[in-house]
Amino acid sequence: MANKLTKVLVANRGEIACRILRACSEAGISSLAIFADNDANSLFVELADEAVMLQGDSIASTYLDQTQILKIAADHAVDAIHPGFGFLSERADFAQAVGDAGIQWVGPSPAAITQMGDKMTARITMRNAGVPVIPGEEIEEVEEEAALIAIEEASHRVGYPLLLKASSGGGGKGMRAVHDASELISAAQGARREAIAAFGDGRVYLERLLTGSKHVEIQILADRHGRTIHLGERECSVQRRHQKVFEEAPCATMRPQLREAMGSAAVAAAKAVDYEGAGTVEFLLAPNGEFFFLEMNTRIQVEHPVTELITGVDLVREQLRIAAGQPMSCGDLMIRGHSIEVRLYAEDAANNFLPAIGKLAVFSPPEGPGVRLDTGVREGDEVTPNYDPMLAKLIVWAPSRNEALQRMRRALDEFVILGTTTNIRFLHELCDQEEVINGATDTTTIDRLWPNGWSPNVSQSIKNAALLVASCAEANGLQRRSSSNSNQDISDGPVSPFQTLSRRFP
């Protein structure tokens, strides 16, 4: 390889596929998307230079089908595969197979993935490297009954409240908080079942649930030319269902010495496994300034944009450089301003964040300075139950944290999505909470703010106004213009994206 990639296969979908495809395009690298049948009309397919459809009707037989993906890669002579996040991104066996096929894996070595990807092994590795880990216990038993017994025994030593986590986990899947012994077994069964479904590996481990802590993670980059650096921290404490919804950089309470201490620990962690590429070392940061290793994500992360905006480093572009064998292009760490990301989900925040589906009849994102949108959808697309219900990441940057929050509120106010329930209003109210404004968030923030679940704070007068609008639109036949087309043919057939405007210019 002449230190240059020529064609990259993006083994992912949705917004992260778009992010990577655009980076390839900017880098002058040609790109190949792979897509399942139900993604044929997705934006990422459109953005790719070439796109190949995956045969199969489940995730396992499409985006997780290593053999099929490797065959496509070989048939189309790609010289690298970028896995994005999720799917195959942390599968060491796939990284190995990719390398064996003579294709460059955009990410760390299979060995590094294995050592960090198995969360139990990672805990042990880190403990040995002197990085503090959360008090807890690994459960090696694989078989259900034996595992449940071992979990029960370990629970006495770890103590309550505790957290069950899937050893192959990520994204909140296979994770359960257990506050009381009576909940333990059903929680363990649920966690294992979810872990098996998501990762094909039911092993879970126990950790003391450290309440009142912040989730703070360090972004690192490592190249083959001897440089391993950190790019400061992100705070991602605000989580619902163990999934991040509000992420920011820098952490509001971070101090330079602590940043250096955590950064050094993260760099040490990366070096311990000969890390290459972009990765994230996650920590819990206790109120007293103690921090504990949680896990390392050996891939690009959902919330990487906030780091990009404060450091000015294009992480995906650096991934491509590093994978090509080039040195990373970024210089010394230079943090400027504040960035916040919120994850827009199709979900009913008022109903325990239940995922929602629907057609994006209107999808009108905010514009203007300091606003970035990473999305894989566009107006007219359908939100289906097939994939994760994240619609977009809305990211803002501003000179200060307060201004970033103001900008985020403005951007959320401007964002109009009609046709599916979203968490936009929830996110807006989140930005109005004193705890969020003060930067005093921890991993229990949402549960504490809305112990009985969130419901929107809407005045009766606005509710009435909305009913008035719907009635008035209905009464004036404002939908008639299109509904007159709703004959059977069209409702079941293809929808035309073509538009004809009735006004004619001479």
Binding site: A197, L354, I357, V416, L418, S461, C472, E474
Partner: protein, 153 residues
Amino acid sequence: MQNQFKTEDGLVEVAISKQGDSWTYEGQSCQILNDGRIQVTTADGSMHLARAAKVGDTWWVHLCGQTFKLERIEPGASASEEQGGLTAPMPGKVLEVMVEVGQEVTAGTTLMILEAMKMEHKIVASTDGVVTAINFNAGDQVEQGVTLLDLEQ
């Protein structure tokens, strides 16, 4: 002009009246602009623009940073509210059935676990009652809106 909508707060009858170019309801008024957009004047005198789209029978309305989902009930049609039934909130797969027919349950009991969008969701009894029917078994695929179980108070 009378319409019936199903809202988060239940069924609402909305009778709007027209004066000049202006429609009113409960102290709110609105006007249709030249370009078809709707301008709302709320009771406190402030003006706002609404965006709206109709998908099927449902009007989606965006107003003042809030989005409303208002299902219009066709005159004569009965509301689609289920009586005592527990419906699938989304398409998915039944993972586990936690109760049996005839079992007495209290409000909050988990009755079924559904997998959808790669997450598990609990189907929980909304009231105390007796399970009178279980319509699906573990492993079954279910469509959104189907009645999963019946509960009698």
